[in-house]
Structure formats: C-alpha cells, structure tokens
Symmetry: C2
Amino acid sequence: MTAQQPAPKDTPNTEVNAVPAATSTDELARILSAADAAASDWAQRPAIERAAALAAVADALDAAAAELIPVAQEETNLPAGRLAGELKRTTFQLRLFAELLADGGYLDARIDHADESWPMGARPDIRRSLEPLGPVVVFAASNFPFAFSVIGGDSCSALAAGCPVVLKVHSGHPRLSAAVGRVAATALHDAGAPDGLLQLVYGTQAGRDAVLDPRIKAGAFTGSISGGRALFDLANSRPDPIPFYGELGSVNPVFVTQAAAARGAEIAAEFVASYTLGAGQFCTKPGILLVPEDSAMLAELATAARPGPAKLLNDRIQSGYTESLQELLRHDDVAALGGTADTLASPPAPALTATTAAALLADPSGLITECFGPAALVASYRDEEELLAVAGVLDGQLTATVQGEESDVVAPKLVRVLAGKAGRVLWNQWPTGVSVTYAQQHGGPYPATTAPTSTSVGTAGVTRFLRPVAYQGMPAHLLPDALRDDNPLGVPQRINGALAP
Amino acid sequence: MTAQQPAPKDTPNTEVNAVPAATSTDELARILSAADAAASDWAQRPAIERAAALAAVADALDAAAAELIPVAQEETNLPAGRLAGELKRTTFQLRLFAELLADGGYLDARIDHADESWPMGARPDIRRSLEPLGPVVVFAASNFPFAFSVIGGDSCSALAAGCPVVLKVHSGHPRLSAAVGRVAATALHDAGAPDGLLQLVYGTQAGRDAVLDPRIKAGAFTGSISGGRALFDLANSRPDPIPFYGELGSVNPVFVTQAAAARGAEIAAEFVASYTLGAGQFCTKPGILLVPEDSAMLAELATAARPGPAKLLNDRIQSGYTESLQELLRHDDVAALGGTADTLASPPAPALTATTAAALLADPSGLITECFGPAALVASYRDEEELLAVAGVLDGQLTATVQGEESDVVAPKLVRVLAGKAGRVLWNQWPTGVSVTYAQQHGGPYPATTAPTSTSVGTAGVTRFLRPVAYQGMPAHLLPDALRDDNPLGVPQRINGALAP
C-alpha cells in the first residue's frame, strides 16, 4: 500500500473507521477514577514487571504495523516509509526504557548510614530514591502520530516511571489513536498490568478537565506555544499546582561561519533537505539560517534543488502554514528567495525567504518565529560580531546548530552563547532526526519548553514523572527494595556519597 | 552575651546597627545587571574554583561568628547556642557543596558515541551534562537566619551550580543579613569570584520585581503558603515562566500505632521536645499527633512536662501565632489539652490541643493546617483503619512520621500511603533537625513545596539550578571539560548508558 492509497471504504473492521466522540464528563470521571485506582498497584510493581509490560507493548505494535500504518497514512498524509520508521522508533523506545528499568540507575538510590561523627552533628540513617508522581495526563502531538502520541515518548516515560497515563488524543489522528490504544491496552492487560493504566480521552474539554482534576499529578504536552501555554497556565492555576512539561516551539537557528561558507553549496543542499524533511513539520526543523553576506551562499540557496510539493498533516495545519508564510512575506525586510511557484498552494512547494541579520536584531519577535511547515528564513550577516549578536537575542530553543570549521575563532564564544539558549547544540550536523539515546536532550528554556530542567526525548525523560522520597530510620522490611542494604534488585546505590562499586 | 542581652547602643560599628532601606528601582536595575554580567563568568569557572570560593565563605563566616551571632540574637530572639549550631550547619553545608563540586557526579555527564548499529537507526555522537540556569532570586526565610537566609541552602545550591544569587532579605533580620552579606561578598571577592555574584535586595517590591525580571532565570523561597504561592504565580505569569522552588507549609503528622502506644509516656516526652524545639518555629515541627483513643496517651500528653515560655522570632509571628491558636480553639471539635496557662501570652508557653481523627476526616482543611509556633494538635483515633484514612486525606507534606513496632500489621500500608504524601518518612524518630546529607530530601507535593521533584536540603538541591545541554558532533575543544573523552576533570561519566569504572 503506498502513501497515497486510501484504506478500502468497506473494510470489515468498523472500529478502525469510526472516529470516536468527545469524552463526556461522566466518562472522564470513570477514566480518572480508574487511573487513580491503578496508580498504587503499578507504582509498586517490581521494575522488571513494568519493563516486561513495555516490551510487550512494543512487540504488539510491531505485530500490528500492517494494520496501523495505513490508518496513519490516511489521517496524516505522511508517507508509509516515514511512518514505518517512526513506528520502529516508537517500539525501540519502549524497549530502551524497559532496559532502563532493569538497570535501576534512574532511581538515583542514595543511602546515608547513621554517622555520629557527621561534622554538623550526628546524622540518622537516611535513604532516598525516586518514586512515581501518580497519574499523568499526556497531550499527543499532531506531527508524530506514533512517536509523540498514544504510546510515544511522554507515555512511555510516565509508564516506565510507574505512573498511569490519561492520553488526550490529538484531533488530527483519532482513529489511529484508538487503534494504537487498543493494541497497547490489550498488550498491557495480557502482560498482567492493572486496568486503567493507559486510557484515551477525546476533545479539548476533556483534556482541560483532566489537567484540573486533583487525581492528575503531572502533565506532558507537545504542540504549539499557544496551546501549551494555556495548559501550563491551567496546571499552575490549580489549588495544588502540578508539574507541567510542555514542549512548545523552536526556530532551531543554524549559524554558518564565514569560513564554513566555503562549502556553501553542500551546506545549502543539506539545509534544504533538513528543513523540508517531513514537509517541515518537525519540532527541530531548522527555521533560520545565518549566512555571511559576502559569500555565494544566498545564490547557492536560491538555486539549491528543493523537493516537490507534499501534503501537510491536515487542512488546519495547511491553512496555518500559508497564513504564517504570507505574514512573513508581508514584512518589509523579507523577500522570497529562489523559486516561489506553488509555495502558497495546497499542497505547498517548499519555500525560502530572505532577510538580514540587522533586520532580525531590529525585530526579533517579528522575524524569529516558528513557521510550522516547509519554509525557512535565510538571514545574511555582515560580520561575526553580528552573528554573535543574533545568537544573543534568541529565545529558548530546542536546538541551535553551528556549521563551522575547527579553526573558527568565533566558535568557542558562539557555542557558549548557544548552549545558554538551547537544549542541544550541534556542530556540522542537522537538528532534524532526534535519536533516542541515554545522552539525548530535547528541551530548552521557554518557549522551547515550560520546564528547562527536563527532556522529552531520551532515557533522562523518565525523571519528569518521579519525585524523591527519603526514609529515616526505617526498618529494612518497610524500605523500597532499591534502598535495602542487601540490594535485592542489584540497582546502583550511592552509599555515604560515593557510588558503590 | 546571652540571648536576651541587646547589643550596645553605642557600638562603633554603625554598619551593623543600621537597618538598610528598601532597594530602589534604580538600585535593583544595577543589581540585576551585575548578576547578569557575572553569570557567564561564574558558569565557566572550573568547578574547583567555585568550590574554593564556597569554602572561603565558610571560613569567613566561622571567623565572624562572634560578630554575627549577637546581631542574630537581637533580631530573632533565638538563643546563642541554637544560632551557633545553625551557623555551624551553614558553614558545613558550604563545605559539603564544595566537595560535591570537586566530585563532579552532580553534572550527570553522559556520552553516547556515534553508533551505526543503533537499533532505531544510526545515531550521532551526543554528549550531555548539566549547566547553570543563570541568575537566581532567593527569598530568605524568617526562621533560619543563617541556614535559610543570605548564604543558606538555596544560595549555596545556586552558587555551587554556577548561578549568581540576588538575595531578597527577610524583614525579620535585615541587619544580620547585611552583615552576613558583607562577610560573604568579601570572601567571594578575595577568592577571585566575579563581582555581582551574591547581592542583597530589601523590601517586598524589589523581590517581586526581581521575580519578573527577564535576567532572572529561577526563584527559590522558604516561607508561608500565601507568600510563596503569590511569588510562584508571579514567576509563572512571566512571558517566559521560570522554575520557582518554593518550600511553603507542612503539618508533619505523626502516627502512633496501637502497639507503639505501650511506650506512650516516652513518645509523649519526645513529641513535646520536638514540637517545642526552637519555640515550634521549624518547617518540620510535628503539628499533629495521631494516638489510639483506647490508650493512656492523651493523659500522658496532658501531663508531659513542657518547656517554659520562649519569645517568638518577632511581633508579627507572635500575633499570627496567637490568632491561629485562638481560631483553632474556637473549632467545635477542639479542646485545650493539659496546661493552658500563658499559651496565648507573649512570650507564649507551649500549647497542646486535642481533637479526634473523625473530626480531622470531617474537616481536614480546617484542622490539618500549619500553626507556626509552639502548638500541636493531638487527634485520637478509633482503629487503624481510621489511622489509614487520616493518612489518605493529607495534603503534601515535608515529613510524615510513624511511631510503630516492627510487628505492626498496619505499618507497610501506612508507610506506603505516607510516602505518597511526604518528602521524608520517619520511623521512630522525630522530623525536627534536618541533617544536610547526600540522601536528605526536604520537599514534597504541594503545599509542602511548589516543585515536588526537588529538594531544598541536601546535596541533591544543586540540580534545581541546572539544566541539561546536549552537544552533537562537537569537536573536543568546544565541549565542556566534563564531556571530553580524555575527562580532564575526572568526573563520573555515563558512557553508552553505563557508568564508566
């Protein structure tokens, strides 16, 4: 089945074709109650059981790929190859978190034995590790129907941490969400997990109501600045505010040094490939490229080959995209760059626009803004002082990239400034294609996220849904296993300040 | 000099006797600008230099003890012995954080080498460690004029993390704050630290303005629920919200099991000692004691010896205390317990009040509330089911304590419920006297704190002021030292998911 082929209209699987209705208040109450009931059971399961359940979900999703991918194609316009890759990423992620659970280092287990000679005064026996926060509401993203949706990075992190998930379905792929939800819930059930561990809710109101419900102990979101900020504000408006991890927006600037412009044609080709990947619908799309004005790069970019038009995720995103692009083109200091035919059509051909670094500095909030879709802005700079000045006015970013040479005098300072602004700083690579690893960081200061101390990709994401609990003078049989002297789980323990060998 | 003796009126050190005026808007602008200017310098200092500066502050404070403690006595009514102990704790803490910096484990350095065979697809070289957030505004507490004030736990954590501190002085001890600020700033300067690293601001408006200033990247607070919530709301109202770590309020309940009531007289004596320690002005004061109704404990508590009256920190706290106690005594289900003479006087004699667990369950928000000062509420319960029910209705707590026997059938369930509510769960010990250690946890769900995933005591507190930054494909000379393959700092590194030996 190719990307463009619709599912047969008369498929016998009516469930897959029905778009679920918005969750009613009564349904939501039952869902929240079930999540609450599952919380302490799931929290107390040995990590190895939680790991096995995550791996079982991965296996079930892999087995259902042929059923799921066509539904995803229909609802998102994404090609089958891309969706298959994304599903692979999703199931890999579940298995990687299962490994993390088996290792136990994520618990940050610390044991301080009682010490009469502790310099500030005798200290008692204190032991501390991380425990689950409780039920989490996760808002799915539009642009990763597998990897940031029903059982994507946020859900996987929360379930691994020991927290039930109430998943607010994204309106862009409700039928896929329902199908993935069924596959995952069945696999969890068959693996012996408690019911109510992963439940779906539909509709804006149900999502908002869940954020405000006292049984929900944290929220996670990937999406727009306006949507994420509204939910963040709701979470903080509660009588008992909760952590809210929103991944909102980023322009992911790329800085080409003067020396690097010597390989301008190569950089131009790679840049076009990166900003048009997935029709420009990645959180890490490089939206702004800084190039030296006294180079051939503007010409090289204008003539660089671009891929053809590609359908965006849905009509709402298409119309938002053309509005953003039109507004940018109305700006006095912005012009189209290179081929402009069909860039405002549906589906759109990739667009490039041009401005100057001076214009960015004069109107950063007008020009340094995310345009979700296959467009990017090229800004020419006068000298590397001006390049540093642009780096200095950036808001928080998910990524910032330097295309440079190792001999660049500006590089150390530029990398330092960018590290102060972005969660990930790249050198001669491109920000799209975020690998799920131990060291990955997908986050950054606001508006990249609402929680700069956290990541939503990579194994470190699990800590978002954990809180430390210390036990003082506690008998062994009342301690969590990770904190017992006989260490039955074999987890890494920091004893009296030093990691045990 | 004793606790009650005022400083000589004609001391030649006029600086120590002058109460600083509220910080003006212009002064605040200069202070914030200086903090901002210091940030990148301090962030890039080798950890060993930051450690040396913290240790130098500790030495300078120890050397100034004879000057500082009398000023603290005058302003807080706390006895000299207690203040000397608190100063010792404060300087110990600075030296412990200096050790943490030398170790480097707090950086959570992670290195993932490029891997062509990574199951989700070839991964690039990614390296991640924690970097300072930037300038932090710290709000000093009233009740620990050294340990939670100018250079207490929050300032120490922020400076260790690499963040300049703008310290909002508590109005209860402004002259001491100015004196400590001078000693600390001089020591930092002499240790080669940048100017603007630790600056004091006075007055509510300056504190609020600092929270809203874009140069401030995080806030920390210890104090009341109303004050902390107002600042938390301000921090979240910014165009760019920032992390705000508030430690607000806790009643620190203590649960005496039926079996433990056999040692009721001993528990009663220890409880009185704990809730009256420091005239009940600790965040961890045990404010509620649950005892079995079919035991001698109510009588034992009524007759337990209490210490004499002690002055509270200041007049505002005295009047707030008597108002809270009077309001509690007006509650239909509350009666005074044991000696009641002078409990509403100034200085107050310690007070005990009594109610039932059934009353707590009927009106949790009316009865389970913090009363800052030397009072506690004893609630008698019918059976251990009711004890568990009370645990279940608690809001977030800094601590919860069980006085039990190892054979208690209720203990495993009770400890689990309390671990879901509190940052620290104690067994047969008392919550006052919070040791500064590696495993300490001083935090908890709201309203204990505004950030349940963090601690404000212990070495783990440093992570509040750090954010992860990843580097992808970065040449060695542009990486932070902690992330280099040759590991020049010798910090612990997690390489490809496993801690390097």
